[in-house]
């Protein structure tokens, strides 16, 4: 076994068929969303950005259409990551490496880069021939043009990425006049470089050597997982086939190697399941076309389970697909629970947060009058885009007097008016007659009312002298 394999250049051949069509559609849809989403507008009023999807780091907000995520709600992003991970587990347990084959950015951009490559250098055979040929003007300009367009696509990729972090219309103007923030240039350059390197030159090496996902997926699939499979029971013994020859006593595989030449990973699917295989199913398209030509049924390479491969080799009937297995049910339940919790959280999400912290420097203060005072710092996060008039009340101890520092509107004592879309801080002085303090420490509630209706509340302790 060698530790280091010199890379063999792969020249995937263009194939057409059902799965190639699906993959073109997925490519168009995902790239379309990626490049155009930053330009989608969403009206949030005059004081807020009108970009539908925007991670506004400077302003500390994450906008997704009608949703505004505050920094303290970043757990929603964590939930989204959990959903993505468990969703990936579920899909992989059911259908194998669908993510790798159809949706992974590495696959999408590699596909896009091969389209460019094909445009300038032709399909597989032309590319091989030209690469072997000595340098000529024809070869040089085609290579230069290819790399130039690759760089352009890479720049658009990196450029679109930064639009998610800053107003897209503003940034597309300031970027080229040199007035955009330094981070915009750095990240655009970084993403341009990685896109060019990963999709242009590294390609399948990323999946084989760098990506951890192929290793993890080996633990996620089982013998009932549907995956791109060569049906060796039907294909073997393989061999060349002349028109009119009998198919008796031999397999359907005519060893035409079409499955190999279309493979973007440069492997032979007939060797069985392999770490390198991203299950893009282009070999299915290639083989189906050949089978049609030689007059044999389709599906020599098809989506199938390991279990069925074994059954067929033992001359048993293939089993129907089993979507309900312990692991898929477990993944689905975790997915539904996480999704449900997030949906519940979002549905009951309050636009007013109240947090109270008791001053600890002095647990309590005995005033000259004998009353006992506790001081709290309260923070009110007003997530509405309007000033709110809130009444603050303290419950739990009879005769508690309050004084709010940071808002002493004589006209409306006990009222606070937190500014729109921000966090305001107040100091709350609660004074209690010594007589009504039964124990050393008593729980109190701090309540906010908006137009008479309870809007937010928090509980804390009121401390007094030891008896």
């Amino acid at each position: 076994m060698t530790l280091y394999a010199r890379r063999k250049q792969i020249y995937p051949q263009l194939v057409s068929g059902r799965f190639r069509t699906i993959k073109w559609a997925v490519l168009a849809a995902t790239l379309g969303v990626y490049y155009l989403l930053p330009f989608l507008r969403w009206d949030r009023g005059p004081d807020a950005p009108d970009q539908a999807v925007l991670a506004d780091f400077a302003g500390g907000r994450f906008y997704i259409f009608g949703l505004e995520i505050w920094p303290q709600e970043v757990f929603y992003i964590t939930g989204l990551l959990i959903l993505a991970a468990v969703g990936l587990f579920l899909v992989t347990a059911l259908f194998g490496r669908v993510w790798c084959g159809y949706l992974c950015p590495q696959t999408i951009w590699t596909d896009l880069f091969i389209v460019v490559e094909r445009l300038f250098e032709g399909d597989r055979n032309a590319r091989i021939r030209r690469d072997k040929a000595p340098w000529s003007f024809d070869k040089v300009w085609r290579k230069i043009a290819k790399h130039a367009v690759w760089l352009l696509v890479s720049f658009l990729t990196g450029g679109a990425f930064i639009l998610y972090w800053h107003d897209a219309r503003d940034l597309t103007q300031t970027y080229f006049s040199g007035h955009a923030p330094m981070t915009a240039y750095v990240f655009a350059a970084l993403l341009t470089a990685t896109t060019y390197a990963l999709a242009g030159t590294m390609r399948e090496q990323l999946c084989t050597y760098m990506c951890p996902w192929p290793r993890i997926q080996a633990a996620l699939v089982d013998r009932n997982t549907v995956a791109v499979t060569y049906r060796s029971d039907r294909g073997e013994p393989r061999g060349a086939h002349k028109k009119g020859e009998s198919w008796v006593g031999r397999g359907d595989c005519i060893d035409c190697k079409q499955c190999v030449v279309v493979c973007p990973m440069g492997i032979d699917i007939r060797n069985g399941p392999q770490l390198e295989c991203i299950q893009c199913s282009l070999c299915i398209d290639a083989c189906n076309a050949v089978m049609k030509k030689v007059g044999r049924p389709k599906g020599l390479i098809a989506y199938d389970t390991d279990d069925n491969v074994v059954r067929r080799s033992m001359k048993q009937r293939p089993a129907p697909f089993q979507p309900f297995r312990s692991r898929t049910v477990l993944y689905a339940v975790v997915f539904a629970l996480t999704g449900g919790l997030m949906a519940f959280g979002l549905a009951t999400r309050s636009d007013l947060d109240l947090s109270v912290s008791k001053d600890r420097a002095l647990p309590y203060l005995e005033l000259a009058s004998g009353d006992v005072r506790n001081v709290y710092t309260i923070k009110v996060a007003n997530k509405q885009r309007a000033v709110r008039d809130l009444a603050l009340k303290v419950e739990g101890i009879v005769g508690a007097q309050i004084e709010i520092v940071g808002e002493s509107d004589a006209a409306a004592p006990g009222h606070i008016t937190p500014a729109p879309d921000g966090v305001d801080r107040y100091r709350l002085l609660v004074t209690v007659p010594a007589a009504s303090l039964g124990a050393t420490s008593a729980p109190i509630s701090i309540l906010l009312f908006d137009g008479g209706r309870p809007a937010a509340s928090a509980t804390t302790q009121f401390q007094g002298p030891e008896h």
Binding site: D359, L362, L365, D424, R425, L429
Partner: protein, 293 residues
């Protein structure tokens, strides 16, 4: 090592390093090209960094480190950042100093800014002695309660912060308690009696005979500042001796030490160190700690 023809591993066809450890030979596989590329690129980046940025200390011809042709300097950058910060605060500072301390709080925007500014300025400048949140410590008055040596109204607090106490400023608050013991104004017996008197004044059990003996001594020596009823005098910063709150401790030994040789603690005049807006914000913040008047 001196073997001119490298040994080729028969299994893999790759040449070996020619070394052998416990029967194990290492294949001399080439490094991946991309790895090698990154390796050389990192070296180039390092060299470029030396030229562009401050990098080498104490090279001949330089005072200190090399400065790099980009002229990047963290000191300059911090100074620029600070001046930007200052410029951004000018409007707030101007409004804050123009507004009467008592009416700052009825301006919502101003009061919010003051809360934040006061909190951070207190942490930076005051908490070292007065404790986080103004909890106080022995010799450093507690600011979170309603006992004030020099007054607890907004303007009193602001004046104390600006000019300090026994500080080097013409308008500073001054008053000194004499060293009754050290300078031999009183005898040891008189001081012992006074200790009992002060203990009894704060409502604790004391030697009744000593209290009676001490009364004329107190009225003659102490009452001019602490008052005949021992309630103190804020205009002189003389503490109230009856409230059970002690700056340097209330046990007989501590009281005795104070009478023998008082500390007369000093608070710096912050007016020279902090701008007027910060002093005002601090006054409002300290006032809000719990016992402002």
């Amino acid at each position: 090592m001196t073997d001119p023809s490298p040994e080729i591993d028969s299994h893999s066809g790759v040449e070996t390093t020619g070394q052998e450890w416990d029967g194990i030979k290492e294949l001399n596989n080439p490094l991946p090209r991309w790895w090698l590329f990154i390796f050389w690129a990192s070296i180039l980046v390092a060299v470029a960094y030396w030229i562009l940025m401050p990098a080498w200390p104490a090279l001949p011809g330089f005072q200190g480190n090399t400065t790099g042709i980009l002229g990047q300097s963290d000191r300059v950058r911090v100074a620029a950042d600070m001046s930007v910060l200052k410029a951004g605060r000018t409007a707030l500072s101007a409004r804050l100093t123009a507004t009467d301390a008592a009416s700052v709080l009825s301006d919502h925007e101003l009061s919010q800014q003051v809360m934040a500014l006061g909190d951070s300025a207190f942490g930076d400048n005051c908490a070292t002695c007065h404790g986080a949140g103004g909890g106080g410590a022995s010799g450093y008055p507690r600011l979170a309660d309603d006992i004030w040596l020099w007054g607890g109204a907004l303007q009193d607090i602001e004046r104390t912060i600006r000019y300090g106490i026994r500080a080097e400023h013409a308008d500073t608050r001054t008053s000194e308690m004499p060293a009754f013991g050290r300078d031999a104004f009183l005898t040891a017996t008189q001081i012992d009696d006074l200790v009992q008197f002060v203990i009894s004044a704060s409502g604790r059990k004391a030697d009744a005979g000593a209290v009676v003996r001490a009364r004329p001594v107190f009225e003659q020596n102490c009452a001019s500042c602490h008052g005949f009823d021992a309630h103190g005098d804020r205009s002189k910063g003389a503490p109230n001796l009856t409230d059970g709150e002690w700056l340097y401790g209330g046990d007989p030994g501590a009281i005795r030490r104070t009478i023998v040789g008082p500390r007369n603690g000093v608070m710096p005049a912050w007016g020279g160190r902090l701008d007027p807006a910060t002093v005002r914000a601090l006054a409002i913040y300290v006032h809000s700690l719990g016992g402002g008047e």
